[in-house]
């Protein structure tokens, strides 16, 4: 009896859930809205960044709808979860394409964006990534790929030159997590570091998702490494740093743009003091962003990291669609490349023929007392 009741409840809940989903879908279809989507790691290790993408896209859609929508149509936002897993990214991409989404403001991880962009290219969906910095993403030559962030070759160039100059004569280790983003960034940094005359002491890959990096840390310690450059995400970077300090290593960790989340500090704790990272000059402080930042703050959301980059992706797409007087992705793509500069929360942005931002700017940030600021 008890079991039957339980089964009944489960069945009831499932039915209600399915009905709820159906209702939501119909509502969207009826009002004739334009669908756009943001896809990123909403669950898993990098969910902190997924939340940034979601926050940026949601606010942009609210603001655009309040101003009358795009070409007279209201926007409806869909959120996709790729968990930074390339396979899941492809299946989410197919799902989004089948729902006739006009724009993807995502994905986050380069490893997801690259395979997903191929699906979008075939299915006629425009993709503007706010965060995928691997050069391959736009170099592959898809008609539909854009990004509002910079590229790893630009980022690595800045990082390598800075390390060679600021930490001349110190022993440097370069680590990466074998992801498209991490390895790409580590290799670009290595190239520019070597060009500046410094050779790294250790170059190694680690497995992301683990917690114990003490063997790796001891290895770095025995090589006398003083600077660790990590091409990878904040969880692993934070753990490596924490375990290095535990083993009494006086190291400085340097990373890329994947460290710009408060979660890095929560993981690394006090060991994170003095950690350096490359990121574009703080978009929150630009005059173009003041009004939008105030709106985020009013909602108690800190527009950190990629929030404004995602906002800009949606905003620029809307402007381009208005200018092209069409939401046809190919037309919007042409307009995006030829019609710039676009005024966005990030300031004026122009795209080159590949879809990259023409004037990216990477500067160094430092973590101090739980927050980061420009060096």
């Amino acid at each position: 009896m008890q079991r039957r009741q339980l089964l009944g409840t489960v069945a009831g809940l499932t039915a209600a859930g399915v009905a709820g989903l159906g209702a939501g879908r119909d509502a969207v279809a009826q009002s004739g809205t334009l669908r756009i989507a943001s896809v990123g790691p909403m669950t898993g290790q990098y969910a902190a960044f997924g939340a940034q993408l979601r926050a940026g896209a949601e606010q942009a859609v609210i603001d655009l709808n309040a101003a009358g929508g795009v070409l007279g149509q209201q926007l409806a936002l869909e959120i996709g979860d790729d968990a930074c897993d390339p396979r899941q990214a492809v299946s989410v991409a197919n799902q989004m394409a089948s729902r006739q989404v006009k724009l993807i403001a995502g994905h986050f991880c380069s490893g997801s964006s690259i395979p997903a962009s191929k699906v979008y290219a075939e299915e006629g969906v425009l993709q503007i990534s706010p965060a995928s910095t691997n050069p391959q993403y736009t170099d592959a030559g898809g008609w539909n790929t854009f990004r509002t962030c910079g590229r790893d070759d630009q980022q690595g160039k800045v990082a390598g030159a800075y390390i060679a100059k600021t930490f001349a004569g110190k022993k440097v280790a370069i680590l990466h997590d074998n992801s498209a983003y991490g390895k790409g960034l580590a290799d670009e940094t290595k190239k520019s570091l070597n060009a500046a005359g410094t050779t790294e002491t250790v170059y190694a890959a680690y497995t992301p998702g683990e917690r114990d990096y003490s063997a790796l840390v001891s290895r770095l310690k025995s090589s006398g490494v003083e600077i660790i450059y990590v091409g990878g995400y904040h969880t692993e970077a934070g753990l490596i740093l924490r375990q290095a300090k535990e083993q009494g290593m006086p190291v400085t960790l340097i990373g890329g743009d994947a460290l710009v989340t408060n979660e890095f500090w929560q993981i690394a704790g006090a060991a994170g003091e003095g950690t350096l990272m490359t990121f574009a000059s703080d978009p929150r402080k630009r005059p173009s962003a003041a009004e939008v930042v105030a709106r985020f703050r009013a909602k108690n959301v800190d527009p950190e990291g990629y929030v404004l980059y995602t906002y800009a992706a949606v905003q620029i797409w809307a402007d381009a669609a208005k200018k092209a007087n069409s939401t046809d992705p190919e037309k919007v793509s042409e307009t995006l490349k030829s019609g710039g500069p676009w005024n966005s929360v990030l300031g004026p942005i122009s795209f080159d023929s590949k879809g990259d931002v023409t004037v990216p700017d990477y500067v160094f940030y430092v973590w101090k007392n739980g927050s980061y600021g420009e060096v």
């Binding site: 902190a48 190694a204 003490s214 063997a215 025995s222 929560q266």
Partner: protein, 304 residues
């Protein structure tokens, strides 16, 4: 020399955690001949419960220092044991008379249920804590290289040894242990002789879960970052450890855990960090080719 010693310390403290979880796999296999695939997730539940306990105790400001850790450990063991009991009661006992693969599949189902349950109730983001147990000793100095032994590593090694001693005593010297071993040898015969086999099996799950909770607490305190997915990777490693040591054998599980920890660490130390898992699993394959029952497994147990 100093370098090898440091890596030995790293490897032993990692291997101890694997060993603690491996005991849970090996005990359940010993008694009902089933791989409890949900065990890695029981470990994850243990880690989350100790996180909740730690936050409650330290934010309440009731206790601090060693007292708090003991209390967190006790709370986490008690509640995780409850989870272990419930899992057995819900997913495995109704299938006791069924064909062999049925509980195996429901174990995989249980693993998915537990993962999603924690993901929904606790959120998908990683949960970091500030380091709780800090400090350590420099036990050797060679040139500029200092061998560090942290308080946390000592704590892990001591706790594992003490807990292991208690449970070995429990299984080999007590009435309950005798009942467990009787069920292991022949469940039907044991029940004919008046042993409550269902109760004995439940207790086995409870003990396994309590040990996983110890591992979860140590893991949380040592690494400070947990999420709903940690049970998978650690579970696979611990399962490997149980098989390497000889599944069904208690000392074998700990030996297997230590070996996996040491192989991973020393491979990272002297060869490539990237291929440490390949090394660990290759050694597992080699061992099984030459010793199909694992290092300390007994050949006469015909369960497969």
């Amino acid at each position: 020399m100093a370098y090898a010693l440091q890596q030995l310390i790293n490897g032993v403290s990692l291997g101890m955690i694997y060993g603690l979880i491996a005991i849970g796999y090996t005990m359940v296999y010993g008694i009902i001949g089933m791989i409890n695939f949900a065990h890695g997730d029981i470990f994850m539940i243990g880690a989350f419960l100790s996180l909740i306990g730690l936050l409650l105790i330290t934010s309440g400001g009731l206790l601090d220092g060693p007292g708090a850790i003991v209390l967190v450990l006790a709370l986490s063991m008690a509640f995780t044991a409850l989870y272990g009991w419930t899992v057995e009661r819900l997913a495995y006992r109704p299938l006791r008379g069924s064909f062999r693969l049925a509980p195996l599949i429901s174990a995989i189902g249980m693993s998915i249920v537990l993962q999603n349950y924690v993901q929904v109730s606790q959120g998908a983001r990683v949960k970091p804590i500030e380091p709780v147990v800090q400090g350590g000793f420099t036990i050797m100095q060679e040139g500029t290289f200092a061998v560090q032994l942290s308080t946390m590593q000592i704590l892990i090694i001591l706790t594992t040894l003490v807990i292991l001693a208690i449970f070995t005593w429990l299984v080999t010297r007590t009435r309950l242990g005798r009942a467990m071993r009787a069920c292991e040898q022949d469940r039907k015969m044991a029940s004919l002789l008046g042993i409550d086999t269902d109760r004995t099996i439940s207790i086995t799950f409870v003990i396994g879960a309590a040990l996983a909770a110890v591992a979860g607490t140590m893991y949380l305190l040592r690494y400070g970052v947990i999420d709903f997915y940690i049970g998978f990777l650690v579970g696979v490693k611990a399962f490997t450890a149980a098989v390497l040591g000889g599944i069904g054998s208690l000392p074998g599980a700990v030996l297997g855990g230590l070996l996996i920890g040491l192989i991973e660490t020393f491979w990272s130390a002297y060869f490539s960090v990237q291929y440490k898992d390949v090394a660990a699993f290759s050694i597992l394959i080699l061992t099984l080719v030459f010793m199909p029952t694992g290092l300390l497994g007994r050949a006469e147990v015909e369960k497969v």
